[in-house]
Symmetry: C2
């Protein structure tokens, strides 16, 4: 266990600019102390599985840094990625609240640190701090809306191009824009992008080529420059 035990959830989060939004990173001092008692911190390597679809829920993971891929796989081996989680996200919450098996697999996309809170202490904690329980309910509701958005995308969006444009825009909205174009690190493979928007690797490759040809995006090494936001918006129009 070479994890930095000196750090606490509070400590971790003090420096985080989005702390206010984070379910377990912005609670009363008493609640935070309690959380520190029941949590355990660990660093996970790239590729580590925090939990696997179908497992009985052991607890939740609060991601401190790094990215996590949430995915589900059919019997035939087809995989869809439902979300790329970032720091501050609470993983496995739905499974804990309703005591059902994890509905997704959570895999570290890059090395990172996470706090684990076991099921029973967590439920006990929520009874002790009802104000946090309310925020849990709101988080569940937010999860629902995210899932709902995905249903709309899968069920209503027409072509892979549209979905890809939508994905690029959702990425660009999380980074600052500078005179109409945004820049971001592209960490996913075409295969993974395909699993997000529900198409094949080849199709992603082709759409990508097409977007570059049309000067909508530009690729410099691993850095993706989105040069024409309006044109992407126009592709979506839904």
């Amino acid at each position: 266990m070479h994890a930095p035990y000196g750090l606490t959830i509070l400590d971790n989060c003090v420096s985080c600019p989005r702390r206010q939004d984070h379910l377990f990173c912005n609670v009363s001092i008493h609640a935070a102390q309690r959380l520190n008692e029941i949590k355990s911190t660990a660093v996970y390597p790239k590729g580590a599985m925090l939990f696997i679809e179908g497992q009985l829920p052991r607890g939740v993971f609060v991601l401190c840094n790094g990215k996590v891929k949430l995915s589900t796989t059919s019997r035939e081996g087809k995989t869809i990625i439902t979300k790329i989680s970032e720091s501050g996200d609470v993983l496995g919450l739905n499974a804990i609240v309703s005591n059902r098996p994890y509905e997704v697999t959570a895999e570290m996309l890059e090395p990172g640190q996470a706090n684990f809170i076991p099921r029973d202490p967590l439920l006990h904690f929520l009874k002790e701090f009802p104000e946090v329980a309310v925020r849990v309910a709101q988080q569940l509701s937010r999860n629902y809306f995210a899932a709902y958005e995905e249903i709309r995308t899968l069920g209503l969006a027409a072509s892979p191009s549209e979905k890809f444009a939508k994905l690029l825009l959702s990425w660009s909205s999380s980074v600052p824009r500078e005179n109409g174009s945004t820049q971001l690190k592209l960490t996913l493979t075409h295969e993974e992008i395909g699993e997000i928007i529900g198409t094949t690797r080849e199709t992603v490759s082709r759409i990508f080529s097409e977007f570059r040809r049309k000067q909508l995006v530009q690729l410099k090494g691993a850095t993706l420059v989105i040069r024409n936001l309006p044109a992407l918006e126009k592709i979506i129009q839904s």
Copy 2:
């Protein structure tokens, strides 16, 4: 207002066999009394809209009888049906909890009665009865899992045939089975079935024909007889 005001939520639900499962139909006597004070009951005709996608949330509807179609529509006019709600379901809960616009449109598929609980009194009620609030959280979690199931169906299921088979099986699971075949009233049009499984009216028609040809199902008037459950299961296999 020709609604049967004499009935209360409690009264309505006493005779309901699935009452135990229903969020607001199985609460303490005190909570029930409080609910009766803040609810109002009405009967809605077929085609009535309880609420519409995008509206600010006014409150929740507890469905007493009848069926309700929950759907969402894209700008281009394509519609998907996300759920057919039945008696006991609470509609609009997510919108109330997170105070966002209704994410779906709720339309009566057949005439029926519903209790309306306005937003503010409901939130107040939940503070007054935390044990009900916990059940609300669990209901939200259940809603999430239902949405998640839909994502899996839309994202992983391959062909319309598979999805239709899946739908038939989900229908058949809610009615008793008699020596391997189940019977149910078919109330939806092919168009609506298409909006559930994400395909066109014509394709539904063709798949339906195919299933009849293969003796998987049989149609007697508005009664659908599912004769070969195992074969349908085999079509899904995901």
